[in-house]
Symmetry: D2
Subunit: 361 residues, 4 copies
């Protein structure tokens, strides 16, 4: 049993507590939140947990092996640093930090101390994104051309947080997970509407190697909720609509091929208009799967799919996008921090995750 502590019982913390408690490999021994009402409402449901006021008490608790941090983003760095220095494995909510420098420091610290650092990009653990990754890995899409996502709704404005840093991590992490090619540059444009001091709308473009382009549209001032991702490939193309109750992923056997005809200079464009296929997806909670993955990584001493480098890569894109918006939308170049052969790396991990093909709900 991995003995775990949770810091922060606000919006997301109780979900962590519930999933950690349900997991057979984890025992939550302590949880911290400064607000008494946050603690007392959970005490009756999870009475075996020791509730404390101060997050540092969780980190200092010698019984605790793994610390989950679900506090406001500006506190991620000091808490995670203290936990890693104290030799604890760390689960941290997205985004990893609010700047790349501190994120990189956490990554280095975790690697030096040989500790698991999992960034909770929960979407990566949804059956839908797992299926997309599976399609990519099996080569079903061919060469990836582009990743385009729209994530808009009439959103809950976050104080002092732009839509870029609030909604952006979801799409940037999914995009990076699917495209295992190094990123080259980021370019972004945003707008502040309705009297807000932070961006309420942003368009972010990410250029990967091998002519793969990613584009993310996040917007808090849209009249309807749209959650749509298009992944274009040379063989097939997918639409992932997270609003769909049952057919979230549609795989289109459509494409264009160039046939060069002997003796004729110009190539002939040929369209392929095949079937559409919506694979069945298991009806499992992503956070439960992420929790199981965390426990597995600790026990087997392997890197999580959304390790510190994955979390850092997301922060780097967001930071670069912020910089681009501040500098007339110019391209901001940077070095992709992710591991060298992520395809292989991920594949091994994925095999552990992927459920049996004929899932019965």
């Amino acid at each position: 049993m991995i003995k775990a502590g949770i810091i922060g019982l606000g919006y997301w913390g109780p979900n962590l507590l519930r999933n950690f408690c349900k997991n057979p490999d984890i025992e939550v021994v302590t949880a911290a939140d400064p607000r008494p009402e946050a603690r007392s409402s959970l005490q009756s449901q999870y009475p075996s947990v020791r509730y404390v006021e101060d997050g540092m008490a969780v980190i200092d608790d010698p019984e605790v092996e793994a610390v989950a941090i679900a506090t406001p983003v500006h506190t991620h760095y000091p808490l995670a640093k203290a936990a890693l220095e104290a030799g604890k494995h760390v689960w941290i909510e997205k985004p990893l930090t609010d700047n790349a420098e501190q994120a990189a420091e956490l990554v280095a610290l975790a690697e030096k101390n040989d500790l698991i650092l999992l960034t909770d990009h929960t979407f990566i653990y949804t059956p839908a994104v797992e299926k997309l990754k599976d399609l990519v890995l099996r080569g079903e899409l061919g060469d990836i051309y582009y990743y385009d996502s729209v994530r808009v709704n009439l959103g809950l404005f976050q104080n002092e947080l732009s839509v870029l840093w609030d909604l952006g991590p979801h799409d940037v992490s999914i995009m990076q997970h699917l495209i295992d090619k190094p990123m080259k540059w980021v370019q972004a444009v945003g707008a502040k509407h309705a009297g807000q001091s932070q961006e309420t709308l942003a368009y972010i473009t990410v250029q990967f190697e091998d002519n793969i382009i990613g584009h993310v549209h996040v917007n808090w001032l849209a009249p309807a909720k749209i959650r749509q991702v298009i992944v274009g490939g040379s063989k097939r193309m997918c639409i992932y609509d997270d609003n769909e109750p049952s057919e979230k992923i549609k795989v289109y056997d459509k494409g264009v091929e160039l046939k060069s005809i002997e003796g004729i200079h110009s190539a002939l464009v040929q369209y392929r208009l095949g079937d559409m296929h919506a694979p069945a997806l298991p009806n499992e909670e992503a956070l439960a799967r992420a929790t199981a993955h965390f426990a597995h990584c600790i026990k087997s001493h392997t890197q999580p799919i959304t390790d510190g480098r994955a979390g850092l890569a997301v922060v780097q894109v967001l930071e670069a996008a912020q910089q681009s918006m501040a500098e007339q939308g110019r391209r901001v170049y940077f070095v992709d921090p992710r591991r060298e052969d992520p395809a292989k790396h991920y594949q091994d991990k994925l095999v552990q995750l992927i459920s049996s093909p004929t899932m019965v709900r």
Copy 2:
């Protein structure tokens, strides 16, 4: 009766011919196309028209008062110039030309010779876009925040023409029609996939004055046909889905307001989640309405809604977007060529177009 001639009977020309022939104010006297089969197939349907081989014969025909040009884009400039110099009114397919310099020359020539120059941005004459413009003019949306459009499908690649110049004119013209504020700069990014020499995907951002942002996504390599425009305003927001058979426009009485509370520094965000309304739209062919508008403008000597300046403004955006793509996506600044008070200008025109409110199909 306005005596008209048509040059080009390829893909779009026959539609022009059909609508011009149906219009009670226009008499098509001659039509030109170099391909005999293009002429002969129309001859039986419209036998009163004189069919000729050479477009210049249409322009030189002394009987012809108005010339419609539906030829490949690189021939627009010489044909339109000849027609305007010969004192003929001109209807020209979109885009006006393939470069801003020639477009500006045509605009100047038409204005000097006091001739009507209508750029056929057909979408502007659809009941759906008319309704959107009507909502904007009546202030139903409040201050416009943004225009966001997605126009993607598995497209028919055009030889030597990028998706930017093929699909882009539709969205750029609608956006400019709705937002009667000067444009400041354009920024764009594109990608060439499936072995194409021209862009198959492009993202174009247009900055207008008063913090209004426009963004257009055009893509020829998408698995499904999406035709979706979101217009965000301070009072209401619209979604225009051209794929919808009957409810193309949805007006959402939704928004965010800032309430400043006396004595408290930070403003309070208040959400308004009201009804959705889908106005009935008349079931009329846009091209028939554009044709009627052309005849009206010639007879009444008034500027068309999609006059030469509107056509030039579209070309300027496309040209600037092309330049931006060639120069690392930098912002390209330019002067909006449209008239000074387009709201007033358009409003007069619109009044003539708008059908009675209780339309019965």
Copy 3:
């Protein structure tokens, strides 16, 4: 404070417990279920409730004023009868009973003893159905022509219970709530598929006075979940799609009118194709509203919207449908047990329920 007891803590009982506990006018003093694990899992969450094994102990508890019954349907009658005889108000899950004779006996008993008997047809308390009823009462639909509903999915077969008795109560109760005209006859056809001993599919037709027809399609063997109601009226028509996340009700200003022209025999059909309107609906839990209504009815001594007679009327339709299916689908006539002027009756109740028109979620 109304002191209440709950019998049955299986699938629906815990929802009742949660809502009764949240309601400021109700205090849950005791709850019964024979299964220890059902009791213990709720004990930690609602520790102030006394948990007992036997439902009769709840009824016999002198402190208890109101009893909620959420047990299998064949136990409804004896439990409700005992509770009403003991002078307790009764909340009972749908369907009221599994036969009309016993349902009628409960109604008579409640009326004789002057006690509240509420049948929990929860859908009646959803904001969507409330809005439909509101549209009907205000005359917005004109004269109602028909009610047509489709409620199909790949369903969870209930042991020894047909789809008619499982899904049917929802639609029959909504239909009766909206159409305040006496029912005349019922006709039904069903089918038993996939080796089931009970109907897995049923079509039920209900004839109301004034040429109003109702039709319900329930089906457990459908590939997708469809929840669609169409209400046709002489002035407007509605579609209620319960799968829609936000626009559940669409009101179409469409219809047909007959214009008789003087001197001409045959009347002219004229189509009206107006706007569509989707009213905003408050995001409230129906069961919480039903609970508040129950407390209100007890305190003010008024009949609930879904009183015993409403519950009986549903049972009568289901019983008649069952009989029709057994007798070659013949029409089964019966007397509508609902009160004489339900429109007036409901209207008073509704006024208490209907929220302010400009609801802000």
Copy 4:
């Protein structure tokens, strides 16, 4: 070349003329309509056709081998009878006649004179219905459980024609085409709204052998256009939505199986929730395919898929439904007139129709 004549150039006749003229095996020599304007508008488009006033002139024309009849339904019988007696093959619009007695007479006459009699149930020739039939024939759906269709919209009232006879033929013919089991009885209920003398709404139930049930809902007074068919089978289930632009057919690998466990009495229900699959369909005009099938049947002397018996079977269902509505909705029994082994019969025909599996549009 089959020399053909067409009688009736009203709403549908011109479509017949266009498709017959396009077909390489057919030469339209003459066409009749009493209204001069109907003739003259087609004369310029199809100048090689001889236009006459009287339909009998077409039948009497010795050059004519095949007669297509697109006149009001009450004239079908005398015209078809005359044509068949004159030794001509006959194409007749749906419904074959307005009563079964006359339909049976035409069938007998065609069979006696060894002539092709094709009832134009055009939907049978759509790629979508062909695909459904193909799925049934290949056993992909397993045993068929039910056919359920909804065909509603705000319709164009037909003078003196009920919705049953106007929209009903489409669904009844599709249902009969897919279910090659004898029909046993029909039961129906209808309603006349908006002051109409004929039904504006009807529900028709058809019982086939082997516990297969069919149900059709047709309605002219619905606020939106719905065209939805569900076919439930023991192995798979389909939804056919004719409104969908590209994914008309969705095949769900979903179902329920009964596992009987040794030693345990009650069987265990097991759900299968597999993938959804939307096969690509060729983008071909159904009427062109029907026309080709007609020519093929004449040349090869084989029975059409929608032969006279198929047309008669549709008329019998409609007539029985009408009778059922007139007699309190009672079940009306009749003998299915279709051939004994329709599966085999249709399969041969289908093989000629079905296009290559990897269709490229």
